[in-house]
Symmetry: C2
Subunit: 202 residues, 2 copies
């Protein structure tokens, strides 16, 4: 019981749990090192024995969020066989996730990226995983595309949906009703699908 590495793992886990809980309830904004260590039942300095700094802890949590989103996507895609429907479901699921886990989702993008410390490789890999969910259906819609072209287009489509979701949940922008947003996002995807169909027919 309680070997050195076990204790360190347990500390890490408790810190991640405490920080996640704080982010979910109060957002990244209100996250304080002292609150986290209090909740985790350890000293302030202990955080810096488990992680290089507070940011590293947040990156860890953001990685979990990415995987969580991917899981939601996977789940939502089950039992949707038609390609267009899959694209619609992906967009709707992203919006639903952002809405349901707003603070946590927001933390993904609120965390400042500083040039000096590069984003970890595993983080970028988790991201690529998400994009692959879009590449799947997209491959059927653009069969002539290379894998690289598919990745770029998937990135573009994700970015577009992400922008719509972001601006809609951002109080800095003129808001629209929730139902209006749902319908508008679906129409927007419909527009893109029509565009793809049109291009295919040319």
């Amino acid at each position: 019981m309680a070997s050195r590495s076990e204790k360190k793992d347990s500390l890490k886990k408790r810190l991640i749990e405490a920080a996640t809980s704080r982010i979910v309830s109060g957002g990244l904004e209100g996250l304080r090192a002292r609150d986290i260590t209090n909740d985790a039942g350890c000293a302030l300095g202990a955080l810096y024995t488990a992680f290089p700094d507070l940011e590293a802890l947040i990156v860890e949590i953001n990685g979990q969020t990415l995987r969580d989103i991917d899981q939601s996507m996977q789940l939502a895609l089950e039992n949707v066989s038609d390609i267009a429907g899959q694209m619609q479901v992906l967009a709707a699921t992203y919006l639903a996730y952002a809405r349901t886990h707003e603070k946590r989702w927001r933390a993904l993008f609120e965390l400042k990226v500083i040039d000096s410390k590069p984003v970890p490789d595993w983080y970028m890999a988790d991201q690529a995983l998400l994009l692959m969910r879009i590449v799947g259906p997209l491959r059927h819609l653009q069969p002539e595309f290379s894998e690289e072209q598919l990745m770029i287009r998937a990135r573009t489509l994700f970015a577009a949906v992400h922008g719509i979701v972001t601006i809609s949940l951002d109080r800095r922008f003129v808001g629209i009703k929730a139902e209006t947003l749902d319908a508008e996002l679906q129409r927007f995807i419909g527009l893109l699908l029509d565009g793809l169909k049109f291009e295919g027919a040319k």
Copy 2:
């Protein structure tokens, strides 16, 4: 010379200038009240006689940025008569602005919006101005849309382009080459225009 209100105006102007300069060179991240007041040649506390707090000063600057973007749009639209071309130009101009004035553009979205203090009305109005630039050409593409529908769709299209630009300039995401991005954004707009054409034909 130097009446009370004149001095206050001059102080405001110097603070805005100093802060803008700091944002342009070091980003919102590195903005410090002490640096601004040093540059402006006033005491630290003077900032709080000219603005309620640092945030209010930043909001002022962000407002100027919005108007600056709108001006770029207006300029870019001159001599572009065809509707599709106008949409392409608007998207390209937004990307170009974000690239050329990255730190300043970024400040628009990095500033935290807190529930307690609502965004000023004039800020929302500046935003609406920008959206109207999109409504113009869009009205010709969707003549059956009501004004409200047009505003919603314009917001959606702006958000989509904004998302693409944002993710492309965000080092947190997998990057693509600059030329690739330019071409991809234009293709994306093309896709949307095709979608609109297709819908119109139905």
